[in-house]
């Protein structure tokens, strides 16, 4: 069993380290040819969504990845990854993969001085640590989307079919609960 990690820009090594600790091998996706490799799950890491979204298009990866996700490839998307998946971004013209029927707000907590750490309950996992780094949150969800976690009434984790979208960074906390939940979806 191999899990692909989008490795165009951002904190992808952190996800790989977490998955490797859980005994899972990773494949890095850096260009079109990598999308033909054998994997049964996908991680979209944190970073800058503008950079990752642009590179997905310009490196010819966008359509193939979108088709893979729409065909049921399980996805764990954190922070910028959540923005890539969202159908709508309320404060930005851009739309990327649009496979997850939610509306997100980018940089919703402001600049770096608005970044914070908290602990909150996440459905099925109990209370887990959460790192929010210039994070987005979910403003509205479409039909079929489960809200897994909220912080101060803001939605910060959702699940839709095989897609898991988080505002925060489970890969930075040392707590493997979210990754374990993702591996169960494969």
């Amino acid at each position: 069993m191999k899990v692909a990690v989008l490795a165009l820009q951002g904190a992808f090594i952190e996800h790989e380290n977490m998955l490797q600790k859980l005994g899972v091998d990773c494949v890095e996706l850096r260009q079109r040819a990598d999308l033909d490799k054998d994997y049964c799950g996908l991680v979209l890491p944190g970073g800058e969504s503008t950079v990752q979204g642009k590179l997905l298009h310009e490196l010819g990866m966008f359509d193939v990845l979108q088709t893979q996700i729409n065909s049921g490839l399980p996805v764990l998307a954190t922070c910028a990854g959540l923005i890539l998946l969202a159908e709508r971004i309320s404060n930005d013209q851009a739309v990327y993969l649009a496979t997850l029927p939610v509306t997100v707000r980018r940089n919703a907590y402001g600049r770096q001085l608005g970044s914070f750490h908290t602990e909150a309950p996440c459905q099925g996992l109990g209370t887990i640590p959460m790192e929010f780094i210039r994070a987005p949150y979910v403003e509205a969800v479409g039909p079929g989307v489960d809200v897994l976690a909220t912080v101060d009434t803001r939605i910060v984790a959702v699940r839709y079919k095989k897609q898991l979208g988080l505002s925060f960074h489970p890969e930075l906390t040392g707590n493997p609960a979210v990754h374990k939940m993702f591996l169960q979806m494969l």
Partner: protein, 291 residues
Amino acid sequence: MEQKRYELNKELAQMLKGGVIMDVTTPEQARIAEAAGACAVMALERIPADIRAAGGVSRMSDPAMIKGIQAAVSIPVMAKCRIGHFVEAQILEAIDIDYIDESEVLSPADDVYHIDKTRFRVPFVCGARDLGEALRRIDEGASMIRTKGEPGTGDIVQAVHHMRMMNRAIANIRAMRTDELFDEAKRLQVSYTLVQYVHEHGRLPVVNFAAGGVATPADAALMMQLGAEGVFVGSGIFKSGNPEKRANAIVKAVSNFNDAQMIASLFENLGEAMVGINAQEIELLMAERGK
């Protein structure tokens, strides 16, 4: 600064990895940089090549100009303050900057002390020529390190030299017996716990970018292959013939730094690179500022 804030600040640097941070002097340049795939921009009044040409004292930028750039883009905005000038840093924190670069590119305000960065909530990146400098800056509260290179020259040799020195020193500490670490900490003038961290993990405790003299996609990929986790590009973009195309190419070269085929095609018809100055030809060595 509470420990949690420091962790969050180190983590923002982690999010920038694999990316290119570009120097910009106007909102218009900032928009070009963002569209070309910059993961952050560095707002400054003049790019290093022009600072060099102009001479004189170089200071923090006008806050109004920085705010204009903050309003123009959605990616993180960094800005430079002078080494040791903690009031410039306070001002940058007051205008909600995402990262402060306590930078040798500007004229130092203090010839002995760096800023006590632990007193700030906002994160700092600092330049370092070798492991000792890097760890001293981290002791002072820096949450990200970059090589000093020799800014504004378009000459990569200094950045390469600094990165190699850093890697060699890290490998050396990794190979030491634990009873040798105490003396190494004394020799480097840094705290023992940082030396212990390097010994255990074989890397700096914060993200390490390359900076200074990056002018081409090949320069950027060279620094990545040498172990940089991302790249700052200063004068190299907006002093070149076709800034937009060059910026795009450097971004792709950083994310696929091991693919020579791709870098070859990125390199084609890029237009004129910035005119380089050899580091030996210049009178002012910025990397010598602040040790």
